[in-house]
């Protein structure tokens, strides 16, 4: 079991020290929302505010999402759980943030819960990375002996489906999309400004939530996240109509890993898979 209280205390202490010592200008973590079951993302800039920070099982937000909002060179401390730390690594690989600008506060956590449903988030949804892969300070003890399970097991059901059934499934899911773009907003890797969906020349897709525009949006977004999605699941949790976007992202991640031999955000020395090629790539991948 994750010692949430201990992590919270440690988080407050670290945040305070870092801000007081002038090591960072802001700390990205969590604060209490309207009750403790609904924490909110929080940016702390003054040491005195560090006591507002919280950490509990509902702190699912991926705070790496906020890194790219600040100019490169801003000194930032960021609280990250397992998958979130992979987002930081991926952002470093992509040159969007610099390792030297960051103090990474790693949080090993299991038993996180979905704010909407109260369900425990496991590998079926998106908790396959338990311990942060990169950190400066670890706010809790590393967790060993808990089997996270493969992030891809949940896909078997969909891979086993007939293609027409799969199309029917996604069509039905996408039909509910209201194009609020919360998925894009929640995703740490969706930092493009403007997003291709907001472009008017070329106009890739309808701005209003027509079925074909939605299809274009999602398929392109799945492609844009290829080799970059770190399986935090924030897209699905952010979605107001509960479209299981993470399933599709998992599938793309699985194929990327199989074809290109690397999972996203595991190593800062890696090059992003889609901005790279290797001698051993073969035409087999074209199927």
């Amino acid at each position: 079991m994750t010692a949430f209280k201990k992590i919270e205390d440690h988080l407050r202490k670290e945040a305070k020290n870092l801000l007081e010592g002038g090591k960072v200008t802001l700390v990205l973590a969590y604060a209490r929302g309207f009750d403790e079951k609904h924490p909110v993302p929080c940016v702390v800039k003054a040491a005195a505010d560090a006591d507002h920070l919280v950490f509990n099982e509902y702190c699912t937000y991926n705070m790496a999402r906020y890194l790219t909002r600040y100019p490169v060179g801003t000194k930032i401390a960021v609280a990250v759980k397992g998958a979130d730390s992979r987002a930081v690594v991926q952002l470093i690989q992509e040159g969007k943030v610099r390792r030297d600008d960051l103090v990474i506060l790693g949080i090993p956590a299991t038993g996180m819960k979905n704010q909407k449903t109260g369900e425990v988030i496991d590998a079926k949804t998106t908790a396959s990375t338990i311990n942060p892969v990169l950190y400066d300070v670890l706010l809790g003890d590393e967790i060993h002996g808990v089997k996270a399970g493969s992030p891809y097991d949940v896909l078997a059901e969909f891979e086993g489906m007939d293609k027409d059934a799969r199309w029917a499934f996604w069509k039905k899911e996408f039909e509910r999309c209201i194009r609020c773009y919360a998925c894009r907003k929640a995703c740490p890797m969706c930092y493009c400004d403007p997003c291709f969906m907001d472009a008017s020349r070329p106009r890739w897709a309808d701005k209003s939530p027509t079925d074909d525009g939605t299809l274009m949006y999602h398929l392109t977004r799945f492609y844009h996240l290829a080799g970059r999605c770190i399986d935090c699941g924030e897209c699905s949790r952010a979605c107001p109509v509960d479209i299981p976007l993470h399933l599709f992202h998992k599938k793309v991640a699985k194929e990327c890993e199989a074809m290109f031999g690397q999972a996203a955000g595991m190593n800062i020395e890696d090059k992003p898979a889609m901005a790279n090629f290797k001698g051993e790539d073969s035409d087999q991948m074209l199927g």
Binding site: F158, K163, R166, W167, M216, L219, Y223, A226, K251, M274
Partner: protein, 141 residues
């Protein structure tokens, strides 16, 4: 009337498109179902082109580039191979018939291969019938 598929072809300037030219100048026959678009390199192909092609009514999409190692720009098609491979997986997972999308490396001297591939692919798509999944039918443009 029997079904005649619309095939969208996207070919790189230096190899496949030149191969198509060669097929033409050597008077080879290939089906007229193909609408060929020329891009400077296969790595120029944004996967959204392919999705858009299907949406606007293509029954099949054929992408052509230089053989790996022969790219005019050195490595363009090596990046393209990865992009197109993942595009293929995405189309499949969305439920598109895998047979409607194909990537072929065709060099400038392979006019024969170009004609053969187009013929083969067109027949394959013809047997699959009209593509209805992505095709825009009502609103939208």
């Amino acid at each position: 009337m029997s079904f005649e598929p619309k095939i969208l072809g996207i070919a790189c300037n230096w190899c496949t498109y030149t191969g198509a030219d060669l097929a033409g100048t050597t008077r080879l026959k290939y089906p007229q179902n193909l609408r060929l678009i020329r891009v400077m390199c296969s790595s120029r192909i944004n996967p959204s082109f392919i999705i858009r092609g299907f949406q606007l009514g293509a029954d099949g999409v054929l992408v052509g580039g230089c053989h790996p190692g022969d790219c005019h720009y050195g490595t363009g098609n090596l990046y393209a191979r990865r992009k197109l491979a993942i595009t293929r997986k995405i189309l499949e997972f969305a439920g598109m018939e895998p047979g409607r999308f194909r990537v072929e490396w065709i060099s400038a001297s392979e006019g024969n291969k170009f004609a053969e591939v187009v013929g083969e692919f067109t027949n394959q798509v013809r047997t699959l019938g009209p593509q209805t999944k992505f095709k825009i039918t009502k609103d939208g443009q």
